[in-house]
Amino acid sequence: MKIIFKILLNAFLLCTALHVGAQEKKECRLKGIVQNSTTNDFVEGATVKTLTKKSKEILTDAKGSFSYLLEVGIYKIEITHVGFVRKTISINLSKDTLIEINLSAQSKDLETVIVKANDNKTKVLSAQVGVESIDRKTALLMPAILGEVDIIKVLQLKPGVKNSGEGTSGISVRGGGTDQNLFLLDGTVVYNPNHLFGFFSTFNIDAIKDVQLYKAGFPAEFSGRLSSIVDVNTLKGTDSAFSWGGGVGLIASRLNVQGNLLHKKKDGRKLTYNIAGRRTYADVFTKLINESNKNDSAFNKIPTYYFYDMNVRVDYLLSDKNQFFASLYHGRDYFKFDSDVFGSTFGWGNTAASAHWKHAFSNSLKLQSALHFADYNYALASKFDRFNFKIKSGVKEYSLTNKFTYTGFKNHQLKFGADIFANQFSISKFNVNSTQADESLASGENINTSEGGVFVSDDWDISNKVKLNTGGRLTYFRNQKTYIGFEPRLSLRYLLMNALSLKASYSRMQQYKHLVASSGASLPTDIWYPSTEKIKPELSDQVSVGFTWNVKDKFLIVNEVYYKWMRQLVDYKPGANLIVNQNLEDEFVFGKGNSYGNEFSIEKTYGKLRGWLGYTLAWSTRQFDAINNGKVFFPRFDRRHELSIVASYPLSKRLTFSGSWTYYTGNAVSLPTGRTIGLDVTGTQDNNNFFNISPVYPERGNYRMPDYHRLDLAVIWKLRPRRGNSDLTFSAYNAYSRLNAYFISFQQKKNANNVANIPGGYTPKAVTLFPIIPSITYNFKF
């Protein structure tokens, strides 16, 4: 392992040495203006710094302008100012140039939240392919189901990202399964990022700054899932002394407090915090209804349900060289079945905690180090007479991650680091405790695993036109057997013209943890299971090529073609017992899959009317010897065409309209085509009829659901309170109330006239989850 690491490092150093001094010495002038992206005011005193070995720094004047004399070449320039989000841009300097830089104020309210440095030019110049990003501001403008803004659902409107079902936050990326996405919250894994069976994600918009989704060309620092990395970043607290806000919606309310405990200090130190929480309150109404019907013996009590979550982020800016922050998420869903004789309860939830240290050893060498803790578990508990029952599963993760960034070599940005992980899996734990010792039962598995990796990557500007990002990650995983894996990464950008670049990438990903999902939906009872001697790591290799075209700084057009090979995929046998099973490993089967397609998007990035159109044409297949008689089949998330149109328009300073329209062709589903009659054993459950009837499912993915389309609309109306800011957000999910089929059920017909009680066949019905759902949310900030 050490040898490979040394070889990689030496290769980078050699490449670097060959190119030092190979540049032209011609100089030209770089002029620029820095302004506030929201108010368009000039920003005086901003630091503009070239990220080169001998970096140059200059401050902007009262008109926000600066001027440099630099050698011809490609530069990374960093612009910083207190109260603004740090911005880094790349520029190809071949002649005297004037640039305009917009800095985003750090979060103060909806209008001044972050806009990442992801403008059109940066995207053209970057070698990164297959990345989508959504910031908080965009998410807040979008229509939301039941008024609950969900950044993951906005991400689903991007090309190549499919939802795993109507209204759910689960995603399938480039033909991968819902288990092939690594959700990170400030770098900590969130194993089940869903509330209410996936209808809401765990990410409260009050606490979220932005999200990046990598679907190809994965940076070497990321690994662990085959198809995507969803990197969610939380929002820092405001620099002001104290502010609070929140929202009141149809199903949940939110509360958010922020501030800076060192706001009076003049030495530049800051201690900011951002605390955000939310809770649903349907249970308040259900309790009242149950109470009012307590004397009605025929009344079935409505189960109690609620979820809550809380985010805390604390940042301590000690100096320019040392920054600390800690992030905590805790959330839980809770069901109680009041009418159940067993008094059953069902709870599930995540905890994700991390502590980060950012340190600058010098201008060119920086470190990001973090400790992480993640926990996901569910538990179903019941009580009956002298017996207490409990079924539970879960996974805990402890990890330490270190990432160094070195910019000391001209035209190179090196990243390298190492991670270690320890996991504790608690799988299918089933306990029955009785007051009589001989009646107590216990089954299930506890598995401890360790995992680690080292990575290195180099972002190398080979020439004005060519940029190469090479890297690799060496991983190990230990559980019964030790697996060593190497994951090479390569991305290449060729600048065809200043506004148009061609890009290509190759990446390999390995997955050592597998989700045992009983259905296509994201259920809390889905179990994470580690690789073992029998269950090998899942592997994917992906190539992706495309272009990025900045059309007059007004539109960004991106097109990518991809092909992904997947091996050692994990599924389960027909008839597998996934809930209570001492030997879950025996229920797995192994196979392979391919996915390929084309993704196109055009985004309007200028003017009042903003938005994008995305179109995906894709195929995804699977093949398992033990499933479908070994024949290739289309998995549930295979969809041929998908189209999204998203737009927002501020009609005035107080009124903003937004909408999105989604269309996709039907999912592949498995439907029965035949039926059989049967007898069963005398005196058993099916004994009411002479014959019982059973469906025949001949093969998987044999039917396509009907096409799906939906329009969502939102209006944000800003109020004029005496203090602070507030708005009313009106949303209409499925505005024209299209009855999209979520599922096709087959209801058995009665045949009472027949003496032999022969069932009369089946009636197919399309089950629709959501007709039009209007909602209103009141948001406020003081």
Partner: protein, 268 residues
């Protein structure tokens, strides 16, 4: 009352609805279906049928097939004759049978095979065997304060291997009024390899608990499990996949030897 109305309006806005759906399913390939249970002291009987299109509206059971049905064990071949038989007491219909009674041996691992040939050239075949029955079966009624009792079933099995069972409790009759019909595996065994399962509070003084515990071969257990899953998958979007794992090759259905222990208890 107002609270109720508010809640129902609230619920209505998010509740699922369904409507009839005009569907064209992929073509169905008709297959031979065999269902045959061997039971100690009972004649060999089988229902031979074929699968039909799911949405067929015909209510005539597809059981009028000409077939050759042979059950073999050791060196003995028994041919089941066309023998339409309607058992109104047990609500069973068979179309092939023999007058020869099955003599079960639960310990010698003797294999029984079945071969079914029909006039369409189809051949379905499978095998099964009797296995050891469970020991120490007991039914214990336990009362609550409302004079209702649940039945605590206990039994044991000497086998150290993974084992599978079906527990059936009938109240007061031998075949009707099914109180429990459940599949059980080793997860329900305590440290002494004793299995424990409780019913609901469905019994009262004077009731008779008629119970049977079937010891299942793995293929029969898998058939029953996947059959349950298939039926659930018709109406449940979160159900697991609906393929039924049959122990018949070349066709569908099941061939199983019933190895069970029966016991009755009167609720005091």
């Amino acid at each position: 009352m107002n609270k109720k109305i508010f809640f129902y309006i609230y619920l209505l806005s998010i509740i699922a609805c369904s409507k009839d759906y005009d569907i064209k399913l992929p073509d169905n390939k008709s297959e031979l279906v065999v269902e045959c249970y061997l039971e100690n002291g009972q004649p060999m009987r089988a229902l031979i049928s074929e699968s039909t299109n799911l949405l067929d509206t015909s209510t005539t059971p597809p059981i009028f097939l000409q077939a050759l049905v042979i059950i073999s064990h050791g060196n003995v071949n028994d041919t089941l004759r066309p023998f339409p038989f309607v058992d109104t007491l047990r609500k069973k219909v068979y179309n092939y049978g023999s007058t020869k009674n099955v003599i079960a041996n639960y310990t010698n691992n003797q294999k029984y095979t079945i071969d079914v040939y029909d006039t369409k050239g189809r051949h379905a075949y499978g095998s099964t065997q009797f296995i050891d029955t469970v020991r120490g079966l007991s039914f214990t009624p336990i009362f609550n304060t409302e004079a209702k009792a649940y039945c605590l079933t206990k039994f044991s099995d000497n086998s150290p291997n993974a084992d599978y069972y079906r527990l059936v409790l009938n109240k007061n009759t031998l075949y009707d009024s099914v109180d429990i019909d459940v599949l059980i595996d080793n997860s329900f065994a305590n440290a002494n390899n004793e299995f424990i399962y409780g019913s609901g509070y469905n019994f009262k003084t004077g009731d008779v608990i008629n119970g049977r515990v079937f010891h299942l071969t793995h293929d029969y257990y898998l058939y029953l499990t996947t059959l349950q899953n298939a039926r659930a998958a018709l109406v449940n979007p979160f159900a697991v996949s609906g393929e039924v794992v049959s122990n018949m090759k070349g066709g569908l259905g099941v061939f199983a030897a019933l190895s069970y222990t029966r016991k009755s208890a009167i609720v005091p």
